[in-house]
Every structure is written in C-alpha cells, then in structure tokens.
C-alpha cells in the first residue's frame, strides 16, 4: 500500500494540477482561472504560517507586493527574463520575511496587527515618489516587454503544484508535526527537543517565499499595476478567509475554501452584486459560529480522517 504522502500527491495534487493545466483549453475566461490559481497559492501560504504554526498574517500581502516589485525591478532595470525575475520576487519576499522575523516574538492579535502595519509600511515605501527612479513610486509600472499571460499562467500552476506539495510534506512529516506541536504549546515543544525559534522562522520564510513567487507571477501576468493593486489588503483577507473556510492544517481545506468561496464571489459578485455582500457575510458568520475549524470539520467530527 502506498504511503499517505504518495496517496496525497496522487489523488489531490495531481488532479488539481491537471485540471488547472487543462482548463484554459476549454474555458475562455483565463483571467478568472489565473486568479483562482493565485488564491490557491496564497491560501496554502496562509495555511503554512497560520495552520501549522498559529501566526495569523493579516499583512500577508506585503510579501506578495514585494514579490511583484522584485519582479518589476529586475525586468525594468536589468531586462532579466521573466522566469528568473519571478525567482527574484521570491527572494525579495524572503529577505522582507527575514527583516520581519522580530515580529515572531509577538503572538495572537498583536502579531496580526504588527504584520498588517508592516505590510502598509512596505506599500508606502514602494509608493514613495522619491523612489520613482527605482519603483516608479505611486505612478505604477508597465512591463510590456515580458507580457505573456499564457506563460505566466503555467508558471502559476507550477508554483501552485510546488506549494501543495510542500503542504503534503508538512502533513506527512515529523517536521510538520513539530510545527503543529510548536503551535499547540511552544514550551512543551521545546521539551520535546524542538528548536522552536528555528521552526517558526522556517515556516515564516517558506510562506513568504510562496507569496513572493505568486506576486512575481502576478506582475508578469498583469504587466501594468500600481502599488495599491499589488499591496491591496484584499489579497490577505481573501487568502485568510478562504483558508479558514475550508479548514487549516489540512491539504484539502484551503483548496475547498478557494473553490467554493471564490467561486461564489465570481458567480454572485458579478451577476447580482446587490446580494453579494449579504450572502458572503452570512456564509462567513455561519462558518465562525458553527464550523470554526472550517468545512473539513464536518468530516473530522464524524471521525473521518481528512487529508
């Protein structure tokens, strides 16, 4: 019998990647598909830092925006190829993550607020007119030279695949178990021999890398954007709500959350926008009241093991 990890790769990761790799051939709204993939990546990034270690990253978009600008600067000033510039976007987000590691001393709401403030600080730094020569300041960037939505879309599918693979690893390894131990009780985790600080930093930087790569690919796909677009708090809030709605610390929870909630958002948000806020609000209230551990808890409460 194959191990749990290989079953998860075979029955969750492979179909997900296959579906999103094939959908552009049969469905015309490629921007919508691209946004789905971006939110699948971001929701899993939130899953890693919140689900596995307990830090709620209200300023998660800071890494996404830093990745987008990392990409833009490499393309604008050094004319680097898009794929390499995406990798630089990831590196920039990791560097930002390193700079922000002192935030990990905080917990709960204090961490969430400090992280939100940090993402706003990065936005205003990037949008500073004095940095126009580097970031184009508040005037936005235009990257027509690398514009290639098809390649950007498939790059996003690849990053989504790697991100889900990372979560499969966390779900099936002693490393992932140790991260959850740190989330549950840091003192007991240290008495189990776990280096608590190191584990938190690794998870934090991994989630930063994921958002940075997603930001770089987003910049590649849209090509023209302003600081407010790529540092929009909506990215953080949506990614957090999607992950929580499905259920964190699982592989499938964030996927289910994105497909259902982002699906509803696109269905009623555009066709009947007058009801959208109402229905969305009711759904989220219902979740918090009745299923605080997410949709997957409908199954786990019955004793089913949800990957």
């Amino acid at each position: 019998m194959p191990s749990a990890a290989s079953r998860h790769l075979l029955f969750i990761l492979a179909p997900l990647v296959a579906v999103f790799a094939l959908l552009p051939g049969v469905y015309q709204n490629h921007l919508l598909l691209f946004n789905f993939v971006i939110f699948l990546i971001l929701a899993q990034g939130v899953n890693i830092i919140y689900g596995f270690t307990g830090y709620l990253p209200f300023g998660y978009v800071g890494f996404f925006g830093a990745g987008a600008y990392g990409f833009a600067i490499m393309v604008m000033h050094l004319q680097w190829p898009a794929v390499l510039a995406v990798l630089v976007g990831g590196v920039v987000a990791v560097l930002l993550g390193l700079l922000l590691t002192p935030l990990l001393r905080l917990s709960g709401a204090y961490f969430a607020i400090a992280n939100l403030a940090a993402s706003l600080a990065v936005l205003h730094f990037v949008a500073n007119p004095a940095l126009e020569g580097i970031t184009k300041g508040p005037y936005g960037v235009s990257l027509t030279g690398t514009f290639n939505p098809t390649h950007a879309y498939y790059a996003a599918v690849v990053v989504m695949g790697l991100t889900v693979a990372a979560v499969v690893y966390l779900k099936n390894s002693a490393f992932g178990l140790a991260l959850q131990a740190v989330r549950e009780d840091a003192v007991s985790a240290s008495m189990a021999g776990v280096n608590v600080v190191k584990m938190r930093v690794i998870a934090w930087l991994a989630s930063a890398l994921i958002a940075g790569l997603a930001g770089g690919i987003y910049a590649w796909y849209v090509s023209v954007f302003y600081p407010d677009n790529v540092f929009s708090g909506e990215f953080s809030i949506f990614a957090i709500v999607f992950a929580l709605f499905g259920g964190v610390a699982t592989i499938t929870g964030p996927i289910v959350g994105v497909i259902i909630l982002y699906g509803i958002y696109n269905l009623i948000g555009f066709t009947t926008p007058q009801y959208f806020q109402l229905i969305y609000g009711l759904l989220i209230m219902g979740l918090v009241l009745f299923l605080p551990a997410g949709l997957v808890s409908l199954a786990t409460r019955r004793g089913w093991n949800v990957p």
Partner: protein
C-alpha cells in the same frame, strides 16, 4: 566517591529573582545517577522554580547549574533535552489537537536520543494504548500526565524532573506509578520529584531536600525531616515546633 556516585547534576548557590522576590536564594544540591531525590516545601518555597531553571525555562540570576560535568545554566530548553534533561509539568501541557501517538512521535523525532523506547512500549507501559489514536484533548487529567511523562521519556533523559506527577492520582494509580518511577531509577536515571503527597515521597525517594523561601533548610531522609523542628515550623507554623 565511586564513578557510580559522581553527581550528574550539581546546583550551587542558585539565585532566581522575579522583581524584588527571591524565588531561589542561594540553593545548592546535587543528584546522582539512579537516585530519586525529593524536593519538598510549602507553596512558594521555590520547588517548581528550581525545576524551571534546571530545565532551561528560566535563566538563573546567579549561581551555577552543572549537568554531566558541563555548565547548563541558561541554556535553551531544547539543547538541554538533547543533553539528557527532561521534565513533566505540574499542569500537563500536551499538544492538544495532536493524537497521543503524534505527541510521542514529535519527541522521538526531535529528542535527539538513540536507543529511545518505541512508541508501542511507551503506550503500553504508561496505559495509553487504548487512546493512542485519540486527540490529547480527549484524555482525562491522569492520562494527560502519563502522556507528559512519555513525551519526556521518548527523549531518553538521564535526569528526569517530575513536577507533581502524583497529584490527582488514585491510590492504586499511585502505587503503580511509584513502581514505574523506581524502575526508571533502577536503569540509572537520576530523578527529582517535586510532590506534596508525603506518603508517596516516602515510598519512592532515597533522600529529600526541604526548601523554604528559596533556600535549603534540611537534607536527609523524609523520616528524619518530619522530626526536624525547623521543617515542622515551615509546614505547620511555629507553635507546633518544639
């Protein structure tokens, strides 16, 4: 002193302050491999603080902790675990949403021990087999204490600190766990027991240290301690001491 009796832990002049309060005020003692040492004293006398300093949760403000011949004062807890110190908590602190088995797996994977007991042995020995695949949150408090103990034993400690492990156990469970602790000591493990149940202390310890206000006021067997006027005074008040 034969090599067998060389202390594995030496604490000298240990000081720990919280603001102006001296929780430990020049505490010194030692424990040798295979010995079960009792730390007793009234509430607030510094027993748990001593364990917290030895296990690396608090850095000492003065004095020395020497484990296995090398300094251990102020080192990070996970490093002390790798060197062979582990403990249980007065209020057990399992990883609540993880299963019993996963709780032990974390310590086996990260405890850095070679030759640690297997999960099956630990589950069996500490009566957790039936609940192995249940979340730790579902366990009763006695089971959570046993899980806390197995988490510690999975790192194969040479010094084990037990903080009120016996509190809340019924008489049959007390006898059983006393036998278990003695069996661990017989393998050469040094054990420090903090406990309020004097019968239990008498049953398992070779020697006790009585603490009051962060200082040692008596060292010897419990049978002698209970006749010591100074010990009677701190436990029962001055009028009972003759």
């Amino acid at each position: 002193m034969s090599p067998e009796r060389t202390p594995i832990l030496k604490v000298s002049n240990l000081v720990k302050r919280f603001g102006g309060f001296h929780a430990l005020d020049g505490l010194s003692f030692h424990v040798t491999p295979g010995e079960i040492l009792g730390l007793v004293g009234p509430n607030g006398s510094g027993k748990t603080t001593a364990i917290n300093v030895i296990s690396g949760l608090y850095a000492p403000d003065g004095g020395e902790v020497t484990f296995d011949g090398a300094s251990a004062g102020g080192a990070a807890s996970h490093r002390l675990v790798h060197r062979g110190i582990n403990r249980t908590f007065q209020v057990p602190k399992p990883f609540l949403s993880l299963t019993v088995r996963q709780n032990i797996q974390v310590a086996l994977a990260y405890g850095g021990a070679t030759g640690a007991p297997s999960i099956a042995e630990l589950l069996d020995d500490y009566r957790l087999k039936e609940v192995a695949d249940r979340p730790a949150a579902d366990l009763n408090s006695a089971q959570q204490k046993m899980l806390d103990l197995t988490r510690a034993l999975a790192t194969r400690p040479r010094l084990l600190l037990l903080d009120e492990l016996a509190a809340g156990l019924n008489p049959a469970e007390l006898d059983w766990i006393a036998g278990r602790i003695k069996a661990l000591a017989a393998t050469g493990m040094a054990i420090i027991v903090v406990e309020h149940l004097m019968g239990f202390i008498e049953q398992i310890t070779d020697r006790v240290i009585v603490l009051n206000a962060g200082k040692e006021i008596f060292e010897g067997t419990l049978a002698t301690a209970v006749r010591e006027p100074q010990v009677i005074e701190v436990f029962l008040g001055g009028e009972h001491a003759r």
